[in-house]
Amino acid sequence: MKSTNASAATAEPTAEEVRDTKIYRNWSMTDAEYERAVGMLGRLPNYTEAGLFAVMWSEHCCYKSSTPILKTFPTKGPRVLQGPGEGAGIVDIGNGKAVVFKAESHNHPSAVEPFEGAATGVGGILRDIFSMGARPVAVLDSLRFGELDAAHAKDVDRNKFLVDQVVAGISSYGNCIGVPTVGGETEFDACYEGNPLVNVMCVGLIDVKDIQKGRAAGAGNSIMYVGATTGRDGIHGATFASEEFGEGNETQRSAVQVGDPFMEKQLVEACLDVIHNHNDILVGIQDMGAAGLVSSSAEMASKAGTGLYLKLDDVPQRETNMTPYEMMLSESQERMLLCVRAGHEEEITKIFTAYGLDAVTIGKVTDDGKYTLEHKGQIVADIPVRALTDDAPEYHLPDTEPARLAGLHATDASAAALHITNPSETFLKLLASPTIASKEHIWHTYDSQVLTNTVIRPGSDAAVIRVRDTETALAMTTDCNGRYIYLDPEIGGKIAVAEAANNIVASGATPLAITDCLNYGSPENPEVMYDLKRSAAGISEACRTFETPVISGNVSLYNETSHEAVYPTPMIGMVGLMEHTDHITTQDFTTAGDAVYLLSGSQGIRPDFAGSEVQKLTTGSIGGVLADVDLDDIKKTQDALLTAIRAGLVNSAHDVSEGGVAVALAESAFGFDSKSGTGRNNPQADVLGVDVNLDIDDPLLFAETVGAFVVSVPSSKAAAFEAAVPAATSLGRVTDDGMLTIATRGSGIRVATMSAKKVWKESLACLLN
C-alpha cells in the first residue's frame, strides 16, 4: 500500500523533511521516540503519522512516565466492576446499581484561559462518565490557587482573577448542563501561583446491566461520529498539557477550547437514550477527550484487537481546508465516537437528530489491526493500531530523594507553638485564612440541588446524594494536603487517603473506592519522580487499610512555572456507601445540651505542627518532620464512629483537619446550611455554642492530628455512646449561650460564635472583593 504524504494542496513537510528538520520535537517527541516510530513502521512516518505518534505517545495520553507507578495501586475489590483502563471506574452498590466515577485535571488550559479551561474540564469528565452508560449525578471540584494577599503573591490580581474565572467556568458549565456540583476543596499556597490546579471529579449512577465499554469490535461495523463539529481548537492540547510553562508560552494559547454545555446536555440525553433503549445495535462508545479523534478511535480498536479505516472527508468540520493532522488532533469539545452494528447507522442518526445532533459514519472496523486514514482519495496514515497504543513507550525514570527534605526536616515544627500567646486571636486569624475560611462564596454559585437527590450540599465533611428507589445514599469528598506531601511524600500520601476516608465516615458512610488526580512537576526531574513514587506508595498502603481500591484516575505532570514545581498534590476523590439514609450525619451541632466528645487514636491530640495552617500562619513557612500516621488505629476509630452513627447515637460528627480541634469545634457550632432547608433560619443556629474542656496546652488546639473527630451525642444517649465507643473522651456540651468556650491547661478560647462565624464566613469574599 502506498503511503503518500499529504496532498499537494497543503505545504506539509515530507517524511524526509520531518526527519531532517526534527519538527516532531515541537510536539514534545524525542529523537529516540521518533526512531522508535520509524522502527515500528519500517519506514519514515509522514507528517500526519508523526503527529499521531507524538500525540499518542505524549504523557497525557499514554502515561509513559507514570504507568510503572500506577501499576502499584491496589485496584481490585469484591465490589469493583471496572477498574482503571476504561473511561471511568465502577463499583457495585447493591440493588442492581453501581456508582461510576473518575477525576480529571484541566490545569494547563485553566492557567491560560481560566473560564473556558475550567468549563471544558467539567465537560470532559462528564463525557467519561456517560460514555460508560451512567447518568452523571454529581460533580466535585478540587482547586489550588496562589495566595490572595499581596504580601504572599507575585501578582495578587491575577490570582483573584483566576479564582473568579475558574469558579465561573465550573458554575457555568455544571449549572447549564444540570448536574449538581456538590463538593470540592479550595486551597491557597504560593507554589500554585503560576500553575493553578483545576481537578474535577464526576460521579454517575448506572444499572449494572447497562455498563458500556469503549470497543470497536466486529469487522465491518461502523464508526460513527456524533456531536459538535471539528475545528482547529486545541490542536496539540494533549502535548501542551504535558509541557511545563515557561515565560514565552503565549503562542500556545490557541490550544484552548470553548465549551458548549447546551450541546453536551443534548449529547448526554442522546447517548443515554441509545445505551438504554438501543443497546442491541451499539457495540461500543467512547468520548473524544485529549488528542480527540485519534486517541478515542485508536483506543477503541486497541481494546477490541481490531483495526480501523477512517474516511476523514466525512468528519464534520467547522472550518475549511482542515488537514488530516488537524482533524485527528483537534480537541474540539462535545464529541463522541460510537461503534455501531453494520446496517443500523440510520437508526442511530435518527435518534441523534431527535436531539438536534448530527451523527455520521466516518469509517469501518477492520480485522487487519491497522489504523488507516483516507483523505481526498489518498491514504494519509497507515499504522498498526498497537504501535499507537499498547506499544507506546514506557519509562522507568530515575528518582532521587529531593534535596529540600533534609532542610525541611531540620526545622523544628514546635516553634510554631511558641508564637501562640493569645489563642483566641490565633483562632480568629486561622478562621480567616482562605484555606480554612468558608468556601460559600464559591459554592453559592454552583447549583448543588438540581436532579433533586442532594441531601447534604457543600459545607459539611462530605456531600451526600440519595440513591432513588433504594434506602441507600452515596457520600463523596475530595481531599489532599499538598503541604504534607511536600514535607513527606509517603506519609502525606497516607494522610490524603485517610482524610478522605474520615470525611466519608463522619457523614455516616463506608468508604468504597477512590479516584485520583496526580498533580506533579516534571517527571524528568528525579526529585519529582521520588515524590510521585513515594506518595503513590503511601496512597496504596492507605487504600489497602481502608479497603478502598483505586478504580480510576488521572496524571497531570509538568505543573511548573519556570522550573518551580507545585507542591506534589495527589488529589484523592472518594465515594462511600450509606446503608440507609437514616445514617446521614453532618458536621453541624443540632441541639443545645448534647454531649461533645473527642474521638482520636490511642495517642489523643499530638503536637502535629509540621505543615499545619498554624505553622504557616505564625512562622510564614512550613517545615519539620511530619508525624507518621497509624492507619490501623485510624481505621479502628472510623469503625467505632460508624457503629455509633448506625446505632443512632450521634447527632453530628466532624473530622479534625486544617486548623485543628479548635476549628473543628467552631465549624460544628456554626450550624451551617449544609442540610438543605435548615441552618440560616434555624433560630437555634444563631445561639449555638460549645462549652468544652480539653486537657491540653493551648497550642495543641491548632495541631492537625489526623484521625480525630469531634462528635455530639444526645445527652440521653451519652451512656450508650460511651459503651459503644470506649475510646471517646468527653469534652463538654453544646450550649445555647452563643459562645465558643474552649478551656485548656492554658488560657483557652472564649469568643462569641457569631463573631467567629462572621470572620470565617466573610473572609473569602472579602479577599476576592
Partner: protein
C-alpha cells in the same frame, strides 16, 4: 479638567474567526426554525457604549486601547475594534 472634552466611545468585541460561538449557532438555529430564510451565519459579540472625557482624542485612544486589551476583550479568543466620536458636537471621527 477645564480643557477636557466629552467623547462617546463604542467598542465592539467579537470572537476570533476560529473560535466556536455556540450562542451564534443557537440563534441561527432559532431563526431557521422560525421559518425565516436567507440567514447564512450569525455571530454574537459584545458592544460597549462608553461616555468619557479627555483632553484630546489621542490620550483617550490610549486609555481605550488599554481598557480593551486588559478588560473588555480576552486576547486569547476575542478581537475588538472601537470608534471614538465627539459628544455634543456633530460627531466627527477622532
Amino acid at each position: 479638567m477645564e480643557s477636557s472634552k466629552n467623547y462617546k466611545v463604542t467598542v465592539y468585541v467579537t470572537y476570533k474567526e476560529s473560535v466556536l460561538d455556540p450562542q451564534g449557532q443557537a440563534v441561527q438555529g432559532a431563526i431557521e426554525r422560525m421559518g425565516y430564510e436567507g440567514i447564512d451565519s450569525v455571530r454574537i459579540g459584545k458592544y460597549f457604549e462608553i461616555t468619557a472625557h479627555a483632553e484630546d482624542g489621542k490620550s483617550l485612544e490610549e486609555t481605550v486601547d488599554a481598557i480593551c486589551d486588559k478588560l473588555l476583550a480576552n486576547p486569547n479568543m476575542e478581537t475588538y475594534r472601537y470608534e471614538i466620536t465627539h459628544a455634543e458636537t456633530d460627531g466627527a471621527q477622532a
